[in-house]
Amino acid sequence: MTERIATINKSYRDKRAYIRVRGVILNPINSRQFPLSFECRIDTGFDGGLLIPKWHLSDAKSIDVEPSITSITLADGSKVPVYVCVAHIQEIDTYNLPLPGKPVMIVMCGNMKSQLLGMDVLKYGTILFDGPGQAFTMTV
């Protein structure tokens, strides 16, 4: 049985669950890394790790990481071309994950302002949503 280490209690904001995530995009060839820090909206319908705007493509390219092209299906059923690469998540809110962090898939898509946190990150913990109380608890 997995030993639980930390419990994070958060309240909803604008009727949605947000959580801060920190990590890095790491280039294993030249050992360069680019730090990431996002206030992400929890999306249990997204099977990737992080969904961030397309303009972060230049952040990855600045450390010689060339994100790969692929296509994903959005919630409305449409297919769009996106860029994907790997990032290592090192911090979920106040909880620090052991270095170099957990590898998750980053999807770079669209120009929306908010980032999504998907099941690829959420699989490392347990989340309990308290709808009437407008709060959630994440146990890592």
Partner: protein
């Protein structure tokens, strides 16, 4: 001008004797080629020791190296036209999605990739890397340069992420 070689008498006689001997022998008899005193068991068997196997492997490698480049799938003129459009930056997002799907299916069929495997494919139709999961593949190709753009795909699915069958 024709040169007729002059053969002296003794040499001519010696040559005639030789030809007569050859005529008498069964050397020109075609059945002689089939007739053999050797038994099938006399033929030496190939020893399958390590040295022989190594030689065989080296020969195989030499054969592989004989190709200028690894074989890749044939792409239709329509796909090639779309690939040209990518270079010019004139391809619409919908066309790019179709192109990725078509290329992925052609590659999976050509290289006989198992369903469920995740592959990284160059836009000229060559698979550069494969893995069992998305993360494994992305970790393998992170930071590597392939010369031409690549795309990633899971064989047997409709898209890399999101709603898929």
């Amino acid at each position: 001008m024709v040169i007729n070689p002059e053969i002296c008498g003794d040499a001519q006689q010696a040559l005639f004797m030789d030809l007569q001997e050859l005529d008498n022998s069964s050397l020109f008899d075609p059945w002689h080629l089939i007739k053999t005193d050797r038994d099938i068991n006399d033929i030496p068997k190939t020893k399958t020791n390590l040295e022989n196997r190594l030689h065989f492997q080296i020969d195989q490698e030499t054969l592989c190296l004989g190709f200028n480049s690894q074989p890749k799938p044939w792409l239709s003129p329509i796909l090639r036209l779309k690939l040209d459009k990518i270079n010019k930056g004139k391809l619409k997002p919908e066309e790019l999605v179709d192109l990725i799907e078509d290329l992925a299916k052609i590659c999976a069929d050509f290289y006989k990739v198992e369903t469920g495997k995740v592959i990284a494919v160059r836009f000229d139709g060559r698979i550069v890397e494969s893995a069992d999961s998305e993360i494994d593949l992305l970790l393998k190709i992170q930071g590597r340069k392939f010369g031409v753009p690549i795309f990633v795909w899971q064989v047997g699915t409709e898209s890399f992420s999101g709603w898929r069958i």
